[in-house]
C-alpha cells in the first residue's frame, strides 16, 4: 500500500465505504487525497468501484434508492456528507462529465449556459462571455461559433462530449469529474478530448475515471489504481506506470487481467 496523503488536497477521502441497495459493499474503505489543479486518473478493471467513487464526490449516488455511505469526503475542508451540505451548491463546485455525452435537447448556446440559468443568472452579456470562454476552453469554439443557436443534438459524438465539458466548466467549478469521458468516442475524438483535458489542468482539478491505461498515462499527473473496492496503489502517474509498487497494479497495467 502506498500512502495516499498529500499536502493541501482539494478533496480528501477518509475511510469511505459505499453500499448499494441490499448491503452490497462497493467500496471497502478508501483513503485518498486529490491535489488541486492537477489531473488524477482512477484506473482499474470493470466493477472495481472507480465510477462509484467519483460519484460520491458530487453525491450523484444520492439518486440511487436505498444506498448507504460511511466515512467522509472532505471538499475544501468541509465534509460533503454533512446534514447541512447544500447538494446544489456542492454540485456547482464539483462538475461532472459523463461516460455517454448527454447534451440537453436545446441549442448549443442554451446547453452551455444551462448551469447559469438554473442559478438564476439573467445577464445576457455574461452568457455570451461565458459561452465563448467555456467553448474555447473545451476547444469547441472554432467548430461551433457560427451555429450556437442550432441544436446540440446535431453535433458529432466528440463535439457533444466537448460540449458537455464546456457546459460543466461554464459554472466555474473547482473540480471536474470525468467518468470515462472517451469510452464512446472514436480515436480522433478521443485525442481532441484528451487535448482539452490537458489544457484544463491549469485551471481545474480534474478527476478522470478511465478504462484506458494509455489514456491515464497520457493525461494524468496522478493515478490511483482500484481493485474490488479497494485502493491498491496511488502515486504520480509516471512512477505508477513505470515502476508499480504493487504486484496487482503491475499485473493490471501489463495487461494480465482487466
Amino acid at each position: 500500500m502506498t500512502t495516499s496523503r498529500i499536502e493541501n488536497p482539494i478533496i480528501q477521502v477518509n475511510d469511505l465505504k459505499f453500499y448499494y441497495p441490499g448491503n452490497a459493499r462497493a467500496l471497502h474503505g478508501i483513503d485518498l487525497s486529490f491535489p488541486e489543479k492537477q489531473v488524477t486518473a482512477l484506473i482499474g478493471p470493470s466493477g472495481c468501484g472507480k465510477s462509484t467513487l467519483i460519484r460520491c464526490f458530487n453525491r450523484m449516488n444520492d439518486l440511487i434508492d436505498g444506498c448507504r455511505i460511511e466515512g467522509e469526503v472532505i471538499l475544501e475542508g468541509e465534509s460533503i456528507y454533512d446534514q447541512n451540505t447544500d447538494i446544489i451548491e456542492l454540485r456547482r463546485k464539483v462538475g461532472m462529465v459523463f461516460q455517454k455525452s448527454n447534451p440537453f435537447p436545446k441549442s448549443i448556446y442554451e446547453n452551455v449556459i444551462y448551469g447559469l440559468r438554473i442559478a438564476g443568472e439573467k445577464d445576457k452579456k455574461l452568457f455570451d462571455e461565458r459561452v465563448e470562454t467555456s467553448l474555447k476552453a473545451a476547444a469547441l469554439w472554432d467548430e461551433v461559433k457560427d451555429r450556437l443557436q442550432e441544436s446540440a443534438l446535431g453535433l458529432s459524438g466528440g463535439q457533444m462530449q466537448r460540449l458537455c465539458i464546456a457546459r460543466a466548466i461554464a459554472v466555474n467549478p473547482k473540480v471536474i469529474l470525468m467518468d470515462e469521458p472517451c469510452s464512446a468516442l472514436d480515436p480522433k475524438s478521443t485525442a481532441r478530448v484528451e487535448e482539452t483535458i490537458k489544457e484544463l489542468r491549469d485551471d481545474y482539478t480534474i478527476i478522470i475515471v478511465t478504462h484506458n491505461m494509455q489514456q491515464a498515462a497520457r493525461v494524468s499527473d496522478h493515478t490511483a489504481f482500484l481493485f474490488e473496492g479497494n485502493l491498491i496503489e496511488y502515486g504520480l502517474t509516471d512512477q505508477l506506470f513505470v515502476k508499480p509498487q504493487n504486484q496487482q497494479t503491475e499485473d493490471y497495467i501489463t495487461g494480465r487481467f482487466g
Binding site: 458530487n58 450523484m60 439518486l63 434508492d65 446534514q83 446544489i88 451548491e89 456542492l90 454540485r91 456547482r92 462538475g95 461532472m96 459523463f98 455517454k100 448527454n102 447534451p103 440537453f104 435537447p105 436545446k106 444551462y114 448551469g115 440559468r117 438554473i118 442559478a119 441544436s151 443534438l153 458537455c164 457546459r167 460543466a168 459554472v171
Partner: protein, 741 residues
Amino acid sequence: MNPAFLKKIKRNDRIAAWIITIGGMAVIVSVVLILLLITKVSLPLFYSPDSQLYTSFQLPGDKTGKQVFTLGMDEYLETGYIVDSGGLVRFFNVTDGSGLDNYQFISESGSQSLVSIQRYGRLNHVLHWNDGSVTIEQVKFSPFFDENNNNLRSIQHSIERQAAFAAPATGRSEQVVARINEEDRQVRVDLLQNGTLRVSLTEEVESLFGAAELVEATHQLENTAVGQITTMILSNDGIQLYAGTNQGEILRWNLSDIETPLLEEVTQAFSDHREITALNLVFGDVSLIVGDNQGGLTTWFPVRNSDTGWKLTLIHELTGHAEPIRSVSPTPHDKSVVSFASGGVQISHMTSERFLVGIDPPEKISHYALTTRGDGMMTLTEQGQLSSWKLDIPHPEISFKTLFGKVWYEGYSEPAWAWQSSAGTDDYEPKLSLSPLIFGTLKGTFYAMLFAVPLAIFGAIYTSQFARPKFKGVVKPAVEVMAAIPTVIIGFLAALWLAPLIERSLGSMFLSLILIPAALMISIALWQAARKIEPLKRVERGFEFLAIAPVIIIAVAIAAVLGPGLENWFFAGDLKQWLFTEMGTRYDPRNCIIIAFAMGFAVIPIIFTISEDALSNVPPSLKAASLALGASRWQTVWRVILPSASPGIFAGTMIGFGRAVGETMIVLMATGNTAIMDLSIFNGMRPLSANIAVEIPEAPVDGSLYRTLFLTAVILFVMTFIVNTVAEIVRQRLRAKYGRF
C-alpha cells in the same frame, strides 16, 4: 448455418411481414369503410329533389262545357278526380285517363251550380254554391286488398259530407271560407260584396246539467284596413282568420270566443303596398304563407314583442315567381309551401328556405293538386291536358343553413340555433341545428380537460420524477385500473350521487376550491420551516404526499363545515338562487362541474399513463446531467424532463381529448342532454355522441333525422380525425425538436 434452418427463418420472417401488413391494411381499410358507410347514409340529405312526368293525357271530353273547379288524386297516383262547376265529380284512372264513375254534389237546397271550391287538409273541399250555401265534402280513398284475387290492391273511393252551412241572409258573397273542427265547431266567414266580413259560428256547448246545446252566433268583423280585402284564410280549427288586402296589409282575427270575435292586428306587411294575392297556412297552422302580386312568397307568424304584443313578422322569404302569385297551399305532411303563378307551380320548404321543385309544362297550368303524401302532383293545363308527376323530395328541411346556421323557427321570438328533432305532434317543425351539439361536445370536452389535464400531468410528473419507485409501483397500476371502470358506472355515480351532492353543497365546493390551495401553500411554507429542525431533516424525500393528504382532507372538511354558513351569510342562504337572481345563470343539477369530474375521471388515466411513460422514458443521463450541474429537482423537471417528454405528454393529452370528444355514456347520463349554447359551467350540454345514442333508436330509418344523426357521426369522426392528425403533426415537430434518444 444449416440451410434448412436459414430457409425456415426467412420463411417465418416473410409470413410475419405479411401478417403485419395485412393486419395494418385491414385496420386502415375498416376505418375508411366505416367513414364511407356513415357518409353514404348521410349523403342523401344533400341530394337535390327531382320531379318526373308520370302520365299525361287529354282530359276526357266534356260535352257540357262546364269549367273544371278542382282536381285531386289518391296517394298512389292511380285514381284521380275532377270537380266541375256543376258539382259533378268524375273519377278516372290516372294511368290512361279512362273514366271510372261519377258523383254529383248537391247543395242543401238542391242547387247544382258552384261558385268556387277550396281545398284544405286531407282532400276536404269547401263548396260554395250559387244559392249562398256552403258544404264541406271529403273525398276518401282507401286501399282494398282483394282476397279472391291474389290480394290485389285496388283503390276504393267514396265521398263524405263533413258539414253544411246555410246561406246567409245577406245574399251572395264574394268569397267564403269555412271550416269544421273535431268538436264540430263550424265557422263560416263571408266576404260580402260591400267589402265587409261576416262570420257565423256554430258551437256545441255543454250546459250545466250535461246536456249539449247548439249555440249559434253571427257577427260583422271589425276591419280597420285601408285596402280592399283580396283573399282570406281560416285556420283548420276555425279560430285564426287572416285576410290580405290590395294595399299590402294583413289582418288577423281571433274567433275563439263565439260572442266576441277579435281583430288582433292589422299589419302593413309590405312597405310598397303591393297587393296580397294569396294566403294560406303552413301545415300546423302557425305560419302564414303570403303570396303577392309581384310574385313574392313569404311566410309570417305572430311574434311577441314587448311593446306591441303579438305582431305578424316576416320570417322566411322563399323563392318567388316572376308573375303575380295566384294561389298558395301547404304540403300535407311537412313545412313545405306550394305556390302557383301563371308561370308554373313551385314547391319550396319554409324552414330551410330551399327551392325544391318547379313544374312548368309548356302549356299554362290552370289547376294543380298534390297527393296527400306529398310525393306526387297532378296538373291540368288550360288546354285540358292532365299530367301527373312523381316528386322525389327526400329531405326538404335540410340545408347547410338549417344544419349550422341560426334559423327562425315557428313560435320562436328570434332566430336560434336549436336541436329538437321531434315533438308530440306531427305538425312540429323539426329543429336540426348541429351547432349546439358541436358546441356541447367542445364544451364538455373543454371542462373535462380543464380538470383532467393538470391533475394527470402533475400526477405523472410527481410519480415519475419525485415519488419513490415503490410508491410508483402502486400508484401507476391503481390509476390504470381507473381506466377499466365501465363508463356507465362513472356516469351513473356522477348523475345519481355526485350531482345531488354538489347541488346540496355548492357553497362548500367553491369554498374548498379556495381552501385547498391555500391550505397547501400554508402547509408547504410550514414544512419548509420545519425542515430545518433536526429530526425532520431525516424525513426521506418522496414521501411528501403523506403530509399533503391530511392537509387536503382537513381543507375539504373545513369547507364542508363552513360552506352552508358562508352561503347563508353572503348569498342569502342559497347560492343557486343567488346565481340566478344576481348573475342570471340558471343552475342545472347536471352541469359542467359534474361532467368535469366524471369525464375527467375517465380521461385522467389515459393522460396520466401516457405522460408518465413519456416522463419516465426521458434518458436518465439527461436528468443526471442537469442535477450534476446543480439544478434542483424541480428545475430539472421543468427545464429538461418536461421539454424532452413533451411529445409524449402532448400525445397523451390529445388521446385523452379524443376520448372525451367521443365519450358517450358519461355525458349521456350526467349532462342533462340540454342542447343549449351557453358556456356557463352551471348548466349542461348535449354532445354529438350522446345525441346519437339518445335519438338513433327513435329515428325512422332513412328519414331526415336518421340521416342527420349519421351526419353528426361523420362530424364526430372528422373532428377526432382532425384532432389526431394535428396532434400527430405537433408531436412529430416536438419530437424533432426534443427527441433523438
